[in-house]
Amino acid sequence: MHEQVAAAALEGAAANVWLVPLLPFLAFLIISFLTRPWGRVSAAVSILALTGSLGVSAQVFWQRFTQDAPPMQVAVPWITLAPDHPLGTIELGLLVDNLSAMMLLMVCFVGLCIQIYSTAYIQTEIAHFPTQGSASMSRFFGWMSLFTFSMLGLVLSHNLLEIYIFWELVGLCSYLLIGFWYFKHSAAEAGKKAFVVTRFGDLGFLMGILMLGVALKGFDFLGLSQKFTQGIPEGLTAGFVALAAVLIFCGAIGKSAQFPLHVWLPDAMEGPTPVSALIHAATMVAAGVYLVARLFPVFHPAGHAGEAALLVAWIGGITAFLAATIAVVQNDIKRVLAYSTISQLGFMMAGLGVGAYTAGSFHLITHAFFKSLLFLGSGAVIVACHSNDLWRMGGLRRHMPFTWFAFLMGCLALAGVPPLAGFWSKDEILGYVYAAPGGMALFLVLTFSAFLTAFYVTRMYFLAFEGPYRGAEKAPADLAGPVPPLSLPAPFPTSQALDVAPEWTEEMATSSQEDLPAACRGAGMEHVPHGLHAPKEVSPWMWGPLLVLALFAVFLGFAGVPTGVGLGLPNFFEGFIHLSGEGHPHEFHWTPMLLSVVVALAGIALGAGLFAGNPERGERRLRSGLRLVWPFLQQKWYLDHLWARALAGTMYAGALTMAWIEANLVDRAVFGLAGSVRSWGDWLRSEHTGKVQHYALMLLLALVLLAVGIGMVEPGFFTSRQFVINLLEGGR
């Protein structure tokens, strides 16, 4: 039905690739229906299934790595309406090429580390909530398995419609897991926000899919890519393709938290930390990047960046810069990491936008490792300190050596210190941007973002791990905690604009209601008070995976060292992931590499200078140095406000208008009609006075009217002879 583009059937290890997503799905089913009451069993099931997936995906990866095979795919019809028409069938299938094999391995591996970590972590969180028991653990692992299934399905998707399906499913899992502690109002709200905001992007995504697929009479990636290798396909204009690509990119903007739809990701930190690590750092948020990489030929027809690619690059650049600036002023360790994630995703997008296919993908992989490492590390820190607030930490290096070491490695990798993973991948993106025609402005933006990255990472590190342990008691009151709003109130909860607000929230439970059941107090139980004792190192189940991930954070970069550096290493990554049929156009430049090293070191130096000795003083100097910019950053560039007012506000205004129309026009018209009928009836009813003579009068009136009527219709009726004859003869 559509030309099979140089695609082979699944063979070798890849023939088993369907097991990769299936195993976690089975785990989800088993956990949901069989092992719900036993949390540890559920965890074991989930981890076992994922281990199986990892094994299979490792085999697939090895097969792809060792053989230079064409992409392999298989597809089965899902809906068939008109089999002989190219658009008559919607298919589901599996596509195995180097990119997806790589992603499979990454997702399975990182996912496995995170799940092992979660076995210990989630128990400590459950311990905070008296109403939650072992079933919560099952719930957690069930949903994690469902997510893993969806993500693997997304990676293996064979066509655009299928990727949309899994796209929505990962969104669902994200929603469920962000709102995992469903009894916390904030968690439920954050989950909803994540779903709705990403759905805004998905609208564009779906439109773009339909636009592109209907125009090209096919949805499958290989076919689409093939059509674009020689430039814009016949019959389409460049503008059409650019519009379709931009619409599809909207999906990536939503899912990968790019400007301006990034606002959901920081709030998503309400979820348990492993969720943040897996979904909101390593895998799901990278799906947008993966999507752009998948459709790379559409953005770059015949290898030349189209208008859409330019937009991708600049959205990426703006996002990288914006999120990095916001991360500088965050106090919540997870929010620093969340903004850092947004920023790094912006780097990847910028890379893909200027054509750095390999570099973007490479940063995607390395980032997955070191960012999940950082998140898991922050989870360990939070468990130890019972707080997310950086100002309640400090000096953890001495108390938690394993965590410290792993976290430090992650920080260095993120900051871009050579020769750690983040350095190589980020540097390669910068190199591309530098070399790209007209990319100098973008290069400067990204370089400055890299500087900021190094700075906020250093700030985070010093606040958490160096100096003395502050705890809740010694935290500086004016610096700690979520800083109160300055010039604008917090984005208004749109529900209240409609008078649609819940009757009961946890805020109401705080005063004088000690006897309430625990479930009614919700998040009030979160902060279990703890004594002055110093934080302790977490269990090996937690720091074990941290060290494994740290290993990768340190050494993974060597898989993609540019050949121009002269370390003598082959560029494995580029050899594995590159655009088929194209030579590598990028030439190595020393300038950006040196510049990025300098910038990273400068950022670290500035951060260390401010925060190494006396962090309070450093923070005060930072705030006063930033002056008016600081509240602006603290308010996240007012983008949440913008969204709340502009878009949600519009929607709710629409709702109010429509409800008004419903009540006052439509319904009133109906009731008016009914009322007029009723008043007619009332009028007629008033004629029923019960008085015989009145009735008789009406009778006479009717008779007169009848006679007049007949007389008007047939003037001669009463006077005709026939009338009389009829009268007479009728009586006989």
């Binding site: 003579q693 007169v704 006679a707 007049v708 002879r721 006989r732």
Partner: protein, 195 residues
């Protein structure tokens, strides 16, 4: 034979009929209305006589003026103080009713006066027109004998039914007018209760 009633007698009787009838419907005292009715009935009887239907004139006087009118007068006396004027004797809707009655009158007059009746004087009993029931020219002046034959030949059943009807109405009147012991006596002012 062309029948030609005496115009003077007709107009006198007609005036009496109309005048008395007007008195019946407009009299302020009910008793006067009753008396006016008797007058009307006598005038109508006179008209019957003018039409040479003597038997009916007799019946009119006997049954109507004699029996029915007397009964109504009794009813008046049973329920009313004889001579008190009926203060609100004309009810609501007098003007509507008057207008409608005038319209009815106009219609009736229009219909009757513009119709061409197959009257004997005009057609002189053309032999082509014979009603199915048939009649003889000799019977044009209704004799009691002819009337008797008519009543008992084609109208036997209705004739007998009328007797039954009168019987039933008498019994019915008794039943209706009888005090019903099952019903409690209606309290005063019951009519003020809103239904």
């Amino acid at each position: 034979m062309i029948y030609d009633p005496n115009p003077v007698a007709f107009w006198l009787l007609a005036a009496m009929v109309a005048g008395c009838a007007l008195a019946v419907v407009r009299a302020r005292k009910l008793f006067h209305a009753g008396l006016a009715l008797v007058g009307t009935l006598f005038a109508v009887a006179g008209l019957y006589g003018l039409l040479q239907v003597w038997f009916l004139a007799a019946v009119q006087v006997l049954v109507y003026a004699g029996a029915i009118a007397i009964m109504l007068l009794f009813a008046i006396m049973l329920t009313h103080h004889m001579m008190t004027p009926d203060l609100k004797s004309l009810t609501t809707q007098p003007w509507t009713a008057a207008a409608l009655c005038l319209m009815l009158l106009a219609i009736l007059l229009g219909a009757t006066l513009t119709s061409t009746w197959q009257t004997a004087p005009d057609t002189t009993l053309s032999p082509t027109w014979t009603p199915k029931s048939g009649f003889q020219v000799a019977e044009a002046v209704p004799s009691i004998k002819a009337l008797g034959f008519r009543l008992l030949d084609p109208f036997t059943l209705p004739f007998e039914m009328v007797s039954v009807l009168i019987l039933v109405s008498m019994i019915g009147a008794l039943v209706v007018a009888r005090k019903n012991p099952a019903l409690p006596k209606a309290p005063e002012g019951r009519e003020e209760e809103a239904p």
